[in-house]
C-alpha cells in the first residue's frame, strides 16, 4: 500500500495576522448613511431642496426617535435574553397618564387629584419610573416563575396596561402640567436623556456582571444556570429595567406633549423591536448591542422624516417600514446560519 508523507515543519495559521472582522455596527451605519444620501439625492430631484442641510428637520427627527429609542434600549436587552417585550408602548401610555396626573398645576380646575397639584417635578418622575418598573416586574415574574412564554406574558400586559391607561381617567386626557415638569421634555432634553440612557446601557451590557449574565442567559439558559447564574432573578431584573425605561419614555413623552393621553405610544413597541432588530440584535438571543439599536432607531427616524419630506403618504411609509423589518429579520437569520456553518 502506498505511503505518502508530508513532514515539513509547518507553523499553524494561529500566528498569522488576523483579519479583524468588522463589527456589525459598521454595516448598519453604512445603511443609515446610504438611506440618508438617497433621500438627499431624491430630494434634490423631486423637490429641489436638501434633506440633510436642514438642522430644524434633523432635530425634529431625532426628537421623534428619542422616545422610541429609550424604549428600544430596554427592549434590546430583553431580546438579548431570548425574550420579547410587546408591552412597552402601552406601559408608556399608562405611565404618561399617571405621571401627568401628578404633574398638574393648580391653575387648572379639573385636576385628577385636586389635592395633589403643583408637586415638585421629581415626584411625578419617580412615580412614573416606578409604575413602569412594576409593570416590568410583573412581566418578568410571569415569564421566569410562571413559565409563560415572553410573547404571551407581554402581550397580556400590552392589552391590560392600555386598558388601565384608559380606565385611569375614563379616557380623558390629563393636561395643564407644571412648567417645572414640562421642562423635562423641552428643547433637546429628550435627546440628551436618550443618549444618556444609551451610554449607561452600553456600559452596563459590556462591562458589568449584569450585562454578561444577560448575554449568557440568551445564549444558553441551561448553561447559564449551571454556571451559577440565578436565571430567574436575572430575568425579572431585565424585564423590570425594560419596564422602567418604558416608564421613563412615558414621563418624557407626557412632559414634551404637556399632556397625558391614553392613546400615546401606540405601536411604539413594534418600532422599538424594529430598531433593535435592524440594529443587529438577534431574535434567537445572545447577540445584540446598544450602539446597533441607536443606529437602528436613527434609520427608522430618517425613513420617517425622509418620506414626510418627500410628501409620501403615511400608508406607504408603513408599507416600507414593514418591509424593512422583515428584511432585518432575514439578515439576522442569514447571520445565524452563517454562525452555525460558515
Amino acid at each position: 500500500m502506498a505511503i505518502a508523507t508530508n513532514n515539513d515543519t509547518q507553523q499553524m495559521a494561529a500566528t498569522k495576522p488576523r483579519k479583524k472582522k468588522l463589527p456589525t455596527e459598521v454595516s448598519i451605519l453604512a445603511v443609515l448613511i446610504g438611506i440618508a444620501l438617497l433621500f438627499e439625492i431624491v430630494g434634490w430631484i423631486v423637490r429641489g431642496d436638501s434633506f440633510l442641510m436642514n438642522p430644524q428637520r434633523l432635530l425634529i427627527m431625532i426628537l421623534q426617535m428619542s422616545i422610541i429609542g429609550i424604549i428600544a434600549i430596554g427592549v434590546t436587552q430583553v431580546i438579548i435574553t431570548g425574550g420579547i417585550d410587546l408591552s412597552s408602548g402601552s406601559v408608556l401610555a399608562l405611565t404618561a397618564m399617571v405621571t401627568a396626573s401628578l404633574a398638574q398645576s393648580s391653575d387648572y380646575v379639573r385636576a385628577v387629584y385636586p389635592a395633589l397639584t403643583d408637586l415638585p417635578w421629581i415626584i411625578p418622575l419617580a412615580v412614573g419610573l416606578l409604575v413602569g418598573a412594576l409593570a416590568g416586574v410583573i412581566n418578568g415574574s410571569l415569564i421566569a416563575f410562571a413559565m409563560i412564554p415572553p410573547f404571551i406574558a407581554t402581550l397580556g400586559m400590552m392589552v391590560s396596561a392600555r386598558g388601565l391607561a384608559r380606565a385611569y381617567t375614563d379616557g380623558q386626557p390629563v393636561s395643564m402640567l407644571t412648567q417645572e415638569f414640562t421642562w423635562i421634555g423641552s428643547g433637546a432634553n429628550p435627546v440628551i436623556i436618550f443618549l444618556g440612557v444609551a451610554v449607561i446601557f452600553h456600559i452596563a451590557l459590556k462591562y458589568t456582571r449584569y450585562g454578561k449574565y444577560t448575554y449568557a442567559i440568551g445564549a444558553n439558559p441551561q448553561a447559564a444556570r449551571v454556571s451559577g447564574i440565578n436565571v430567574r432573578r436575572h430575568l425579572v431584573m431585565v424585564y423590570a429595567i425594560a419596564g422602567l425605561l418604558a416608564g421613563l419614555a412615558g414621563v418624557v413623552a407626557s412632559a414634551r406633549a404637556g399632556t397625558g393621553q391614553a392613546g400615546m405610544g401606540l405601536m411604539y413597541e413594534l418600532d422599538a423591536i424594529a430598531a433593535a432588530v435592524i440594529g443587529g440584535t438577534s431574535l434567537a438571543g445572545g447577540v445584540g448591542r446598544v450602539t446597533g439599536t441607536v443606529i437602528g432607531a436613527l434609520i427608522l427616524g430618517v425613513m420617517l422624516s425622509g418620506f414626510t419630506f418627500l410628501g409620501v403618504d403615511a400608508y406607504y411609509q408603513d408599507i416600507v417600514k414593514g418591509a424593512i423589518i422583515v428584511a432585518a429579520v432575514i439578515v439576522d437569520q442569514y447571520r445565524q446560519r452563517k454562525r452555525k456553518l460558515t
Partner: protein, 514 residues
C-alpha cells in the same frame, strides 16, 4: 439538488478507491484549517483519522459531507469528481455523517428524528406513524439497539442519543459513512456494540471513516490510518504498520510523556461527606466521603446514575433525600449558585446542552463562572484582570484559537472542551467534580489535563471524576465508587481496582457496599 457527477472530466477514473480527496484547502478568518490535504478510502474498510485537537479532521469531514465548500481541491467518489452544494447533495451521492456534536431534535421522538425529511406518508400525504414506528423498529432490530422508537429524544442519555445518531446515519444506506468521535460519550459496552455494527457494514463493502482520540479503538477497528497535524496531511498507512507510539509521534511531532501521571499526595481530612443521597426515581442511598487531595473515581455503565449524582451534588437537580456535609457541616444545596458559594465546581458531561454559549466568544465562555469573585469591583467586572487570567488558562490548557475574541463555536470540539475546563479551574474550587473531563481531547492534551488534575489534588482539592474510559478512572483515582442502576455497588481501592473488578461491580449488583 442532485450531486453532479462529471465523468467526462476524469478520463481514467481509478475505481480502486471509494473516496479520494486531493489537495483540499480550507481557510477560515485567521486560520488555515486544511492545507493541501489528501485522503483515500478503500471500499470495505475502516479508515481511522488521527490528529490533535484542531488538526482539521472535522473540517475535512464536513467538506466530504457537503457542509463546507473547500477553497481548493477536489473530492472524488468512485473516481468521479463530486460537486457538493450542501449536506443533502452528499446524502444523495451516498455519503452520510455522524457529527461530533449531536444534532437531534429534543422534542421529537426517536423515530421522527431518524426519518426526518424522509417520513413514510399515507395515501393522504400525512405522515404514516405506524409505518414510521415499524421501520424504526426494524432498523433497531437489525442493529441490535434496544430503545423505544416512540420515546422523545430529550429523555435519552447522551449515549442513547449517540446510538440514535448512529442508527440514523446507517438508515441512509450510504456507501460511505463518516463517524466523527462517535464513542466520546459511550462506555465500553456501547463501544463494543458500535464495533459490531461497523464490522457488519464493512462486510457489506461500505467505507467507513472513523475519528477518535482513543488509541485502543483504532487498532481494534481500523484497516488504514491517516494522520494529520496542524491542517496538514502527515501520513497514510495500514494499521498493521503503525503502533500507538508511532501514531502519537506523527500526530504531535514529538514524544508524549506518560499518560495518567498520577502523583501520590498526602490525603487530608474529609471535605465532602454524602449520606444516603437520593433523587426520586433516579438514584438512591448514595453515601461516600471525599478527602482533601483525594481523587474519587465514579465508574458505571451508561444510565447507572453517575451523572445524576454529580448534578445533584451541584444543585442542578436538588436531592430529594439524604444529606450533604462540607467540612463536617451539614449543608443544603438547591442550586448551582449555592454549590459554587460552598466551593464546588462541576464540569458537565454535555458540552453543547449545559456548557457552551455558542453565540459568545472564547473569553466570554471562560470568564462566566468567576464574575462574582475577585474579578469584580461592585457590579463592574475587572476586564483587564479577566483577560489576563483567561489568556493564562488558554496557554496552560493549550487552547488552539486565533484569539480570545473568536466565537467558541468556531473552535474544534476538543478545544471547546479545554475552554470549559478552564472556566471551572478559574473558580479555584475546593471540591471539583469532573464529568467526562477529557471527552474529545487528544492524547497529548489529555496527559496535560491529567497532570493538572493531579496537581490540583496535590494542592488539597477534593476531586470527583466520572469517566467512561476505564483506563482513565483506573489510572487517576485513589478510590473508585462503582454504580449500577442508581445504586452504589461497591468501592475499590486503587490497589484492588482493575478492569475486571470494576466491570463486575458495574454490571451486577453485589452485596459489597460501604
Amino acid at each position: 439538488m442532485a450531486a453532479t457527477i462529471d465523468s467526462a472530466s476524469s478520463p481514467q477514473a481509478s475505481t480502486q478507491y471509494l473516496l479520494e480527496v486531493v489537495n483540499a484547502r480550507k481557510t477560515f478568518p485567521g486560520v488555515v484549517a486544511l492545507d493541501n490535504v489528501q485522503l483515500r478510502i478503500r471500499p470495505g474498510t475502516v479508515h481511522a483519522l488521527m490528529g490533535e485537537n484542531g488538526a482539521g479532521k472535522s473540517t475535512l469531514m464536513k467538506i466530504i459531507a457537503g457542509v463546507y465548500i473547500p477553497d481548493e481541491g477536489e473530492v472524488r467518489l468512485h473516481g468521479k469528481p463530486l460537486q457538493l452544494n450542501g449536506p443533502l447533495d452528499a446524502l444523495e451521492a451516498g455519503i452520510a455523517m455522524i457529527h461530533q456534536e449531536l444534532n437531534l431534535m429534543p422534542f421529537m421522538t426517536i423515530a421522527e428524528n431518524i426519518w426526518i425529511r424522509r417520513e413514510p406518508l399515507n395515501g393522504l400525504g400525512f405522515v404514516d406513524h405506524a409505518a414510521l414506528a415499524s421501520k424504526t423498529q426494524a432498523l433497531f432490530d437489525r442493529l441490535g439497539i434496544d430503545l423505544d422508537p416512540e420515546m422523545e429524544v430529550r429523555q435519552l442519555t447522551i449515549a442513547g442519543r449517540q446510538m440514535v445518531e448512529i442508527a440514523k446515519a446507517v438508515s441512509y444506506e450510504s456507501d460511505l459513512l463518516i463517524m466523527d468521535e462517535p464513542t466520546s460519550a459511550l462506555t465500553d459496552r456501547e463501544v463494543e456494540h458500535l464495533f459490531r455494527i461497523i464490522n457488519d457494514l464493512r462486510a457489506q463493502g461500505k467505507g467507513i471513516i472513523y475519528i477518535t482520540h482513543k488509541m485502543d479503538e483504532v487498532f481494534e477497528v481500523a484497516d488504514d490510518i491517516s494522520v494529520f497535524r496542524d491542517g496538514q496531511f502527515i501520513r497514510e498507512a495500514p494499521a498493521s504498520e503503525l503502533d500507538a507510539n508511532e501514531i502519537i509521534r506523527l500526530m504531535v511531532g514529538r514524544e508524549v510523556t506518560q499518560m495518567f501521571p498520577k502523583e501520590t499526595v498526602p490525603i487530608g481530612d474529609v471535605v465532602l461527606s454524602v449520606k444516603q443521597l437520593g433523587l426520586e426515581g433516579v438514584f438512591e442511598d448514595v453515601s461516600f466521603d471525599v478527602h482533601a487531595g483525594e481523587i474519587l473515581g465514579i465508574a458505571g455503565l451508561v444510565g447507572s446514575g453517575r451523572t445524576n449524582v454529580a448534578e445533584t451534588l451541584f444543585g442542578v437537580t436538588p436531592a430529594t433525600s439524604g444529606t450533604i456535609a462540607i467540612d463536617g457541616e451539614e449543608t443544603v444545596i438547591r442550586s448551582p449558585h449555592q454549590a459554587m458559594l460552598r466551593g464546588l465546581a462541576l464540569l458537565t458531561e454535555d458540552r453543547k446542552e449545559t456548557g457552551l454559549f455558542l453565540s459568545l466568544s472564547v473569553l466570554e465562555n471562560m470568564e462566566i463562572a468567576v464574575l462574582r469573585d475577585g474579578y469584580t469591583h461592585g457590579s463592574f467586572v475587572s476586564q483587564h484582570q479577566l483577560d489576563q487570567q483567561c489568556e493564562h488558562m488558554k496557554q496552560v490548557l493549550h487552547v488552539k484559537t486565533p484569539d480570545l475574541e473568536e466565537l467558541i463555536g468556531n473552535l474544534s470540539g476538543g478545544n471547546q472542551q479545554k475552554v470549559l475546563i478552564g472556566r471551572w479551574l478559574m473558580t479555584k474550587p475546593r471540591i471539583l467534580i469532573l464529568d467526562e473531563p477529557t471527552r474529545g481531547i487528544d492524547v497529548g492534551a489529555k496527559a496535560e489535563i491529567h497532570r493538572l488534575i493531579s496537581k490540583l489534588a496535590g494542592e488539597g482539592v477534593a476531586v470527583i471524576m466520572i469517566s467512561s474510559e476505564l483506563p482513565e478512572v483506573l489510572g487517576m483515582s485513589d478510590r473508585i465508587m462503582v454504580m449500577h442502576q442508581g445504586r452504589v455497588t461497591g468501592f475499590l481501592d486503587r490497589s484492588d481496582a482493575n478492569q475486571i473488578s470494576v466491570m463486575q461491580l458495574a454490571s451486577a449488583p453485589s452485596a459489597a457496599s460501604a
